[in-house]
């Protein structure tokens, strides 16, 4: 309340209120004359809304010169955003109507800026609150250096250049910190032992030869040869006895949380320039096994083996499907994502065009609109799927025509674009499916079914094509899966012996037998779903032709059996034959920015050193091939089929397996908070012996960066560039561009003679300048193609996007006209020249591309028009390749914990630890299954800064069914602590003697399955502004609001064998988010 005299009201408020009180409230009203202002007849009325003494004001937010389009990153859905600037400040964020995420259909790309201007697309509350991320009072402006123990949150500010120098040169950097007076830290210069590109390339080839050698004795001999050959260079290796660990450069690890293209190019270029093979992302904490199962499904038969699988996945065509079964996916709150998918679904649900079912232990908002809710038991996804598969096969309700297509020609003949290997024959040894039969190996009357052919791979290597085999009409015939001439349709169910006695089964037969391990009733019982419901949903799935799909997300993937849960559901989709069909499963399609059209080759990296060796997370190579092979179980898991295994990055350092790490960089990552059992990471990060140098790039002091030695302030998503890419629920080919829309918060620095805000890029460029790293500086991309400023990469990327993917430029976007260029310049008038300098920008892309670059940036990216996403009943940008229903490559991989081969087909596996044991010991005495869910107002670690969102849901709670609450004597709103066998204390050990109990309020609700408790991610912070920090001796108080609620990840099981990380999926790499049993304790 104010006591100020209102100039337009003769009575002060206080005076009036006082009077009003005396006179008895409302009765006072009549005594008061109408305030001045209603009779200002002569005044200009710009808006003609309210006649009053207060002058009319322009609506700044509707003006072209205050409007910039970009891409959100409040979550990774990355919706197109329309940022509205008022007096230099971003005050409102809406949806970009050119972008298909926020308007359906989106505006035609050719729509002029002025025509599009009044249209606001729809984005979610987080997206709108994003400006509170950018203007967060806790945003860092200067580089911080640790001035206390790790985790103590004591810092000093340090000039940017000094921080760069210290990281590069090392020394007793923390001599002022008690206990570290004499601790020497190796700098990057010392860790970059191998910098000779030719030498590195030779060594890499010889390491590959060691790996390719199968015989143990010969392998040992090859290592000896290696040591002889490189005797003068052994000091450059981590361990000369294990040359396949690679050079010491590998002891630099670059990790990240959320990294998109563009910035990804920058960061990965940095890794390449440092010569380390260790650049690891966070995929497995999100839905890794969804990605890596789909990678395994997408492995292509080439050169006689399976390779080139894509790290990607499919989603349902929300806009056109008639029926979708969502499993562990909640597209109203997450699931990539609410704005794009909700807008495509709600009207269809109301009109009856689309029907959905939702399988989830929790009744989500999505489930509230569903025809059926299947409250399945956590971790039993595959049981539910196998039950459906059994029913679908027995009822013959699968797409037989699609499944029979054994090669590409058959797919074309059947009107399909993709085909699968359901009919290919798999050899069965001792009852176990192994490799596909090769036609050249199958002798009939002494003659091979088909003689092997000498062929060359796409990259020119000679190989022997031995062909595969299907049964057609009961007779074996040889096939080339990629043959486009001769269609082959195979027999679907084969279980027989070939003439040479080999027992074989078709892939579909193997799947059916796997599904036949139990009856439908038994599968239903395991999944905790009524058999009748299972059948009803399976019936509906198979009643819409190709316009039905199973759409899954992390609910299926984030279990120890995640890979097989995903494979089971994707097998259902393959049975439906819905790949590439309108209303079926679609893959994302994005425009290139790296120079496919030949304009600017942003992949060019002159002088880079070939990185080689086992990665610090042991991915991409078979354990058995390496010199570290020492039987089973291995010390930790190996990941030949996956990558970006987040839960291995820091715990592997703790075990120094495969080798010790000397320097860790973390960009936009909070593994301590985000990972299940993330507290295990804290212990390691606090140990300077295990992590000698830790550098973080963060916009504030975050849940993981608080343990760093240096924090470089970063620009937020509203201050920087990136290419957001797409999601597989969008049929159109797109590429949204994230670009600076506000002046940067961090202070400026100078690198390579250029002014720029301190940021991830500045940190990289600073190190690159000091260490003269190849691929940066005046010749960064090649002669006359410098990389001295972030603009050098990003603007050329935008130019590539504007140019298109054809070398003749025929895919170029139009030129922006004079009006659009004027708007473009005006709308950036609030940006400093270190960010926006039209002359610099124009010079970088060249005068010809400049108006095209403006055209793209004025629209927030490049977006194909809506109608072009489909061709009749098909997707216009199809996957159009082989789908592996049976996976020879997966079946060839051995579980490093058990020594057993992984199954190559969909099956139900129970929850298992790394040793392959059921965690029954951990379950004893813990009666509630702990799961998590998402609320639309929070994105894991980074949205708590947004006070508007806290107003919607100030704190999360622990959802519990009334029956459980009653059984345990709990009531709604009661505070309880979450404990588990691996965290009986029920607290986060935060390091430096601090702890945070895992306590939250119970929410008693019918919306969760009995026996299951759930909490929403994104609350219960201990950093990110939630705790006090000391900088340069000043205490900056934490905000209690940010600490509210519970984050119970630390209760999630630590693997009983590995001990320093969570339980995990040994195949797809996913962390186990939903397998832990807990107990709730009264506080």
């Amino acid at each position: 309340m104010t006591n100020e005299i209102n100039p337009r009201n003769p009575i002060s408020r206080r005076k009036f209120l006082a009077g009003g009180a005396m006179l008895g409230g409302g009765l006072a009203a009549a005594a008061v004359a109408p305030a001045a202002g209603s009779d200002d007849g002569g005044q200009r009325r710009g808006n003609a809304i309210l006649n009053s003494g207060r002058p009319d004001a322009d609506y700044d937010l509707a003006k072209a010169e205050n409007t910039l389009y970009s891409a959100c990153l409040q979550c990774n859905t990355g919706c197109g955003i329309k940022c509205k600037v008022q007096d230099g400040v971003v005050v409102k964020i809406d949806g970009n109507p050119y972008n298909p995420w926020t308007l359906v259909p989106h505006l035609p790309y050719a729509t002029s800026f002025d025509d599009a201007l009044p249209v606001d697309g729809a984005i979610c509350p987080k997206g709108q609150a994003g400006l509170q991320t950018a203007y967060d009072p806790y945003r860092l402006r200067k580089v911080l250096k640790r001035a206390g123990k790790r985790g103590e949150n004591k810092w000093v500010t340090i000039p940017f250049a000094d921080a760069v120098a210290e990281i590069c040169e090392g020394g007793t950097l923390f001599k002022d910190v008690p206990g570290e007076e004499n601790r020497h830290v190796d700098g990057l210069r010392a860790l970059m032992a191998l910098t000779d590109p030719a030498l590195a390339e030779q060594m890499a080839a010889d390491v590959k030869a060691i790996w390719d050698e199968r015989e143990k004795a010969k392998k040992i001999a090859r290592v000896a040869e290696f040591k002889n050959r490189y005797a003068a260079h052994l000091d450059k290796l981590i361990d000369p006895d294990h040359p396949d660990l690679g050079p010491k450069n590998n002891q630099i690890v670059l990790a990240w949380g959320r990294l998109k293209d563009g910035r990804g190019d920058f960061y990965k270029r940095f890794a390449a320039a440092l010569g380390t093979t260790n650049a690891h992302g966070h995929t497995t904490v999100c839905q890794g096994s969804l990605y890596f199962t789909c990678k395994a499904i997408s492995e292509q038969y080439a050169g006689g083996k399976f390779s080139d699988g894509q790290k990607f996945y499919w989603q349902a065509d929300t806009e056109n499907a008639e029926f979708i079964l969502f499993v562990g996916a909640n597209l109203f709150e997450a699931n990539y994502g609410p704005p794009n998918r909700s807008a495509r679904l709600t009207q269809n649900l109301v009109s009856g065009r689309t029907k959905i079912a939702v399988a989830d232990p929790r009744f989500s908002k999505l489930a509230s609109k569903a025809w059926k809710w299947l409250p399945l038991r956590p971790g039993t996804d595959a049981a539910l799927a196998m039950g459906m598969i059994r029913w679908i096969v027995e009822e013959k309700r699968f797409d037989a025509r699609f499944l029979a297509c054994a090669n590409k020609a058959a797919a074309a003949a059947a009107g399909e674009s993709s085909w699968c290997n359901a009919t290919w024959l798999v050899a069965i040894k001792d009852g176990v499916p192994g490799k596909f039969v090769r036609a050249a190996d199958l002798l009939i009357d002494g003659q091979p079914l088909k003689v092997a052919e000498k062929r060359r791979t796409n990259d020119g290597k000679e190989f022997e094509e031995r062909f595969l085999v299907v049964m057609a009409g009961g007779k074996p015939i040889a096939i080339d899966p990629n043959d486009e001439q001769t269609p082959v349709f195979g027999d679907l169910f084969v279980d027989t012996a070939l003439p040479d006695g080999t027992l074989v089964k078709s892939g579909l037969q193997i799947l059916f037998e796997s599904a036949s391990a139990h009856t439908v009733d038994e599968w239903s019982e395991m999944a905790g779903v009524e058999p009748r419901t299972l059948i009803e949903v399976a019936h509906e799935l198979t009643a819409h032709g190709k316009r039905a799909a199973v759409d899954i997300h992390r609910g299926s993937a984030q279990h120890t059996n995640g890979f097989y849960n995903v494979l089971a559901w994707m097998s259902v989709n393959i049975l439906l034959g819905n790949c590439d069909a309108k209303g079926g499963m679609i893959a994302a399609s994005t425009w290139d920015t790296k120079g496919k059209g030949g304009l600017f080759k942003l992949d060019a990296h002159p002088g880079k050193t070939t990185a080689f060796g086992v990665s610090s997370i042991r991915h991409g190579v078979d354990y058995e091939k390496t010199t570290l092979f020492a039987g089973y179980p291995a010390k930790r898991n190996w990941y030949p089929l996956s990558s970006d295994v987040y839960e291995e990055i820091i715990p592997s350092m703790a075990d120094a397996y495969p080798y010790p790490v000397k320097a860790l960089f973390m960009y936009m990552g909070a593994p301590t908070y985000s990972l299940p059992a993330g507290h295990t990471n804290i212990e390691t990060l606090c140990d300077t012996a295990k992590v000698p140098l830790f550098v973080a790039s963060d916009i504030l002091i975050g849940a993981t960066s608080m343990y760093a030695d240096y924090i470089f302030p970063d620009t937020s998503y509203l201050e920087r560039w990136e290419f957001q890419g797409s999601h597989p629920n969008l049929a159109n080919k797109v590429q949204p561009v994230r670009q600076p829309v506000m002046a940067p918060i961090p202070e400026e620095c100078t690198v390579f003679g250029q002014r720029m805000p301190i940021s991830l890029e500045a940190m990289i460029l600073g190190v690159a300048e000091r260490l003269r790293l190849p691929g940066f500086g005046d010749q960064g991309f090649g002669p006359d193609l410098p990389l001295r400023h972030p603009d050098d990469l990003y603007l050329r990327g935008v130019a590539n996007l504007a140019f298109g993917e054809k070398p003749d430029g025929s895919q170029s976007v139009p030129d922006a006209n004079g009006r659009e260029i004027e708007i473009f310049l005006q709308a950036r008038r609030h940006l400093p020249s270190s960010v926006f300098d039209p002359e610099r920008w124009k010079t970088i892309v060249g005068a010809t591309m400049w108006p095209k670059v403006v055209y793209v940036l004025n629209r927030g990216g490049r977006f194909e028009d809506h109608a072009l996403g489909y061709k009749g009943d098909r997707i216009a940008h199809p996957y159009a390749k082989l789908l592996n229903l049976y996976q020879e490559k997966t079946a060839g991989v051995i579980h490093a914990g058990t020594g057993q081969h992984h199954p190559g087909y969909a099956c139900y596996l129970p929850i298992l630890d790394f040793a392959g044991e059921k965690p029954d010991e951990l379950r004893k005495g813990y009666d509630l299954a702990l799961i998590t869910h998402r609320v639309i107002t929070q994105t894991k670690s980074r949205t708590i800064a947004n006070a508007w969102l806290s107003a919607i849901l100030p704190e999360n709670g622990i959802l519990i069914h009334p029956a459980d609450a009653a059984r345990l004597g709990f009531h709604n709103g009661e505070t309880v602590k979450v404990v588990s066998a691996t965290n009986p204390d029920g607290a986060w050990p935060l390091g430096a003697g601090r702890r945070k109990p895992m306590e939250g309020k119970l929410v008693v609700t019918q919306t969760v399955r009995p026996g299951v408790v759930s909490f929403a991610l994104g609350f219960g912070h201990w950093a990110t502004g939630a705790s006090d920090v000391t900088i340069d001796g000043h205490v900056i108080k934490g905000e209690a609001r940010r600490a509210a609620g519970i984050h119970a990840n630390a209760a999630m099981w630590t693997d009983p064998t590995l001990k320093n990380t969570c339980m995990l999926d040994p195949v797809g790499g996913s962390v186990s988010f939903y397998d832990t049993m807990v107990r709730l304790v009264k506080v």
Binding site: A57, A122, P125, A129, R139, S368
Partner: protein
């Protein structure tokens, strides 16, 4: 048990408000009716929006409604009758409208024009969840208007009940008069007040601190500039939804409409037979909240 449709429209629980203090809220106002609102030719707007984007049956509902809006703005204000329909079947409970409104109107903590209420009902394994956005109902007989002692709030000819903050004295009578709880008081709070204490406002510091940013910018309600910087209006005033009149002037739909990711909120001129909203109100069973109160809302619900 799930709430029936009849129960829903009578359920005061959904309004989030204490029951209205004034019974007979719909009694006729004896107060002045001429507030000198702009009318006639000066309110006619020729809006060019989307003129070059071909209308299409399959276009986004937002575009169709924007075309409806442009048509309505081509008439004098007194011939428009703004209305809203909220299709609860399509509402996904995301609160995009709530936050959109807070952001658009720079609402401080405690001031909310458009909450979304979530209700759970039923029992496992058949629970139900329903979402109800609750804007100002823009009643045709608004109980909040006659109780104002200073004539600071009134109903415009186009159906929108407005507040002139410069006249409002913050007595809160209108808050209690509204049976929907659609009005809240602005106590001058800041969303950043509790953050980074100790960091100061020193822009050369290590942290951003509470340096001036979005909250300090004036908002645009009623086509005016309302700055919070000097604790002037609307601090201390009653505040409420106004269908984003300032956006309508610019040819833009209310922000709760454009932010609706489920496309559950319909808006337009109920005097326009061609408008999406008019057709919808006639076709579907559109109901008013607490209709028995006689407030005759311009906001309708489909359930």
């Amino acid at each position: 048990m799930a709430m029936t449709r009849a129960e829903f429209v009578k359920a005061t629980i959904l309004t989030g408000a204490a029951a209205a203090v004034l019974s007979g809220a719909a009694r006729r106002s004896r107060r002045r009716t001429d507030y000198g609102d702009p009318a006639g030719e000066e309110t006619v707007r020729e809006i060019q929006a989307l003129s070059a984007v071909k209308a299409d049956e399959s276009e986004d509902l937002l575009l169709t409604m924007q075309r409806d809006l442009a048509r309505a703005m081509g008439k004098p204000a007194e011939r428009r009758q703004w209305g809203m329909v909220i299709d609860r079947r399509k509402c996904v409970g995301c609160h995009a409208c709530t936050i959109g409104c807070v952001s658009e109107n720079k609402l401080p903590p405690g001031v909310v024009y458009r909450p979304v209420l979530t209700e759970e009902s039923g029992r496992f394994p058949d629970p139900r969840m329903q979402f109800t956005p609750r804007p100002c109902m823009q009643c045709r007989t608004p109980p909040c208007v006659p109780v104002c002692p200073v004539n600071a709030t009134w109903k415009r000819a186009d159906g929108v009940t407005v507040v002139d903050y410069d006249k409002c004295i913050g007595c809160r009578h209108c808050l209690t008069a509204c049976p929907y709880g659609a009005r809240t008081s602005d106590f001058g709070h800041s969303y950043r007040a509790g953050a980074a204490l100790g960091a100061g406002k020193d822009v050369d510091g290590a942290l951003q601190g509470r340096a001036a940013s979005y909250e300090e910018q004036p908002n645009h309600e009623y086509g005016k500039a309302w700055s919070r910087a000097k604790h002037g209006s609307p601090i201390g005033n009653a505040r409420k939804c106004h269908f984003c009149l300032h956006r309508l002037e610019a040819g833009q739909l209310p922000v709760c409409v454009t932010t609706c990711i489920g496309r559950a909120t319909y808006f337009g001129d109920l005097n326009d037979d061609m408008a999406v909203i008019t057709r919808l109100v006639r076709r579907e069973r559109a109901e008013q909240l607490l209709a028995h109160r006689g407030t005759d809302p311009s906001v309708y619900y489909i359930s």
